[in-house]
Amino acid sequence: MPLLYPLVFAAFLFSAGVYGVLARRNAVMVLMSVELMLNAVNVNLVAFSAYLKDQLLSGQVFALFVVAVAAAEVGIGLAIVLLIFRNRETVNIDEVDLLRW
């Protein structure tokens, strides 16, 4: 298939993730949009690994590492969201602004 097909698919998912991070107020929704962006990057990596017929399979290995790091990040992110909810009864990121100027 043309190389552009998976690349444009990945770019679309990445842009949807960017929109989600900027437009959503719920902290869990922001985490979901970040997951979309990470998956778009993975599609890109695997597509290039297939295109270059890489002997080292670097694209697929990196995609596996990105999955592992994303899992760790979601775990910690949700733990933080839980802690914020326990203390403030809200997960609206606009209301968690103690560190703002």
């Binding site: 298939m1 043309p2 190389l3 552009l4 097909y5 998976p6 690349l7 698919f9 770019a11 679309f12 998912l13 990445f14 842009s15 949807a16 993730g17 960017v18 929109y19 989600g20 900027l22 437009a23 959503r24 107020r25 719920n26 902290a27 869990v28 929704m29 985490l31 979901m32 949009s33 997951e35 979309l36 998956n39 993975n42 599609v43 695997v46 690994s49 297939a50 295109y51 017929k53 080292l56 399979l57 697929q60 995609a63 596996l64 590492f65 999955v67 592992a68 790091v69 994303a70 899992a71 760790a72 979601v74 775990g75 910690i76 949700l78 733990a79 969201v81 839980l82 802690l83 997960v91």
Partner: protein, 164 residues
């Protein structure tokens, strides 16, 4: 238009539509379920790109563990429903749409310039033992580092979320 391209277009349309609905849905639980559809279509794309092991890992870990974790997070934070609670102001949303569309146009334009006519050749699916050899011969150091990272994340999440 080969069968592979038709299958890819079908998966890409479903996955793209699901991805859009994840970021625009009014109900958090619906958004998590649309995320399942998007991640599964991405797993299908991995199968078409000759990476079956990555596809299986995607289904097991992303759909099976991360989405379940997100659903637990939604449940434990009393998921609110409705446009006013979930989304930013209209001005912010329009700005986000401009930024998102700009990123998409820019990325597509650059990629079309760089890799416009190139094709991915038909190839045999990557066997799991070839991938295992690649990880444990060439990438063993990042592998160990990711293990330590996962341990640290696990301990950190427990410490953060426990009641004391």
């Amino acid at each position: 238009m080969t069968g592979q391209e038709v299958a890819f277009l079908a998966l890409a349309v479903v996955g793209g539509f699901a991805g859009l609905l994840v970021v625009t849905s009014r109900n958090v639980v619906h958004a998590a379920l649309w995320l399942v559809v998007a991640l599964s279509s991405i797993a299908g794309v991995y199968l078409l790109l000759a990476a079956p092991f990555v596809a299986f890992v995607q289904v097991i870990i992303y759909v099976g563990a991360i989405v379940v974790l997100i659903l637990f997070g939604i449940m434990l934070t009393r998921a609110p429903v409705g446009r006013r609670v979930l989304d930013n102001t209209l001005r912010a949303r329009v700005g986000a749409l401009v930024v998102g569309a700009g990123v998409f146009v820019m990325l597509t334009w650059f990629m079309a310039e760089a890799w416009g006519g190139k094709r991915i050749a038909n190839q045999a699916a990557t066997t799991t033992d070839a991938l295992g050899l690649a990880i444990f011969r060439n990438y063993v150091l990042p592998f160990e580092a990711v293990s330590v990272l996962l341990l640290a994340a696990l301990i950190g999440a427990i410490v953060l979320a426990r009641r004391d």
